[in-house]
Symmetry: C2
Amino acid sequence: MSLDRLIDKIIKTNNPTVAGLDPKLDFIPDFIKDESFNKFGHTLEGAADAILTFNKGLIDALYDIVPAVKPQCAYYEMYGWQGMRALYDTIEYARSKGMFIITDGKRNDIGTTMQAYANAHLGTVDIENVQEKPFGGDALTVNAYLGSDGILPLIDVCNKYDKGIFVLVKTSNKSSGELQDKNVDGEPIYKMMGNMCEKWGNELKGKHAYSGVGAVVGATYPQQLTELRQSLPHTFFLVPGYGAQGGSGDDIKGAFDKDGLGAIVNSSRGIMCAYKKGNYEQADYAMAARNEAIRMRDEINSFIK
Amino acid sequence: MSLDRLIDKIIKTNNPTVAGLDPKLDFIPDFIKDESFNKFGHTLEGAADAILTFNKGLIDALYDIVPAVKPQCAYYEMYGWQGMRALYDTIEYARSKGMFIITDGKRNDIGTTMQAYANAHLGTVDIENVQEKPFGGDALTVNAYLGSDGILPLIDVCNKYDKGIFVLVKTSNKSSGELQDKNVDGEPIYKMMGNMCEKWGNELKGKHAYSGVGAVVGATYPQQLTELRQSLPHTFFLVPGYGAQGGSGDDIKGAFDKDGLGAIVNSSRGIMCAYKKGNYEQADYAMAARNEAIRMRDEINSFIK
């Protein structure tokens, strides 16, 4: 019913970072793709198989030092239902290794439809009294443009299954200000949305300072990160935009509280494609990912502790 | 690159309505479920099989009189990748019958990630120079909380594949005003979002008055519907909230222009569950759906023409 399990893992690994699993085919070493395409042809099934193999290698290399993975749904949906099966299998594999799974779906709808998304990604579905688990993540990113009707169904499911959500507040992209920075009653919308997270979070209190309702706040807006950390003491942050998108260690330090908690920083391309940057063979992509994860952990810790 | 194909079909069938395909198990007649569960057990696969059979029956009953279907992704995702396969098969079947498909996913993200969603639902993906079609809808509902970075990747894909989008503007739910009604620079956010649709639509002009960038505006807010119809002359509306959610024929008439065009009204439960209301056997669920679709068409036409 909160993000306690995530926070406990961050403390245990001394690592406030999450590895994004956005497996574009371009990111995957040739030897993996060749094997999958030999088996299944250049098909959605072949692409999905390559994704899964790549992800498993990354998870094997990261699970003891990185607390969480964040699969981005779009890169699985892009390969059809076959890709969605690879999402399911990736989540299962990460869970079997003890990782916390943040499903990055930015889902949004209302009422029973939102409940369907909540059950799909965080809960179970009832099939005439048999409970089945559709995807099985631990937290889901969501978009609250539709208001409380889109969030309250998630709160129920989080309470029931001990899960959490991250609401889009201030996103890392350049045009995020077109709506999010506009002033409403003298305050920017991202701040209003942040305040709603605090309110919704009252229903999902945790043992640490933070509730089960987190917020997505981009590394590319360090001033807003700092300001929101101060005004939202119970809202845990998921911070995209570090590394490839331009956010630095100095930029993200404001996301953390005085104990070095309060946020988890995502890196996707930086970790997945680490082998392309260093002096690595393709076969060593997992080792390269591990080395980059360690470098990132140490860099971020040097700024926040 | 626009919604022309949809508008042409609306004119041809003289029917500005879309049948929502939100196949909750509760909506499906027992004889269909029994057959699927006998074959596959009470599993995600069994549920997905029942959904597909139900949908095919509805499509068979509707395709010559209703221009479009709107599958709601959440009700397929709820049954895992097996459910997503049923979504793919439903879309394929509806297309084979000549229907226009609005995939209701309310997807949102930025840059290459949004491009992945666009290709997933409206385009094709490149698998080492082989093009595959992941889901294959004709239009996708999207959420623009992230600004232009989340919309422009869709415009490219719509241009390339002759597809369209519907951006959430003023949603039909009770709490939609928590954000959407707030004033920014003296105008409510839904109006600002509507104006952005007009702007984005300049890149996707059609042969009718309307562009490929539509807007979702709920039947439950008749005043806003009327006001937005006047201020957004090139933005086609997808109108949820009719029937089960409380919107009446009188409520939606403001969504239409002087030629009776400009909007398509959705009914999901009303059509899918028509057999539960009238004096029907479960076996006649498709006939009941057809009768309700005709009644709805005639009711709406009586208000707008």
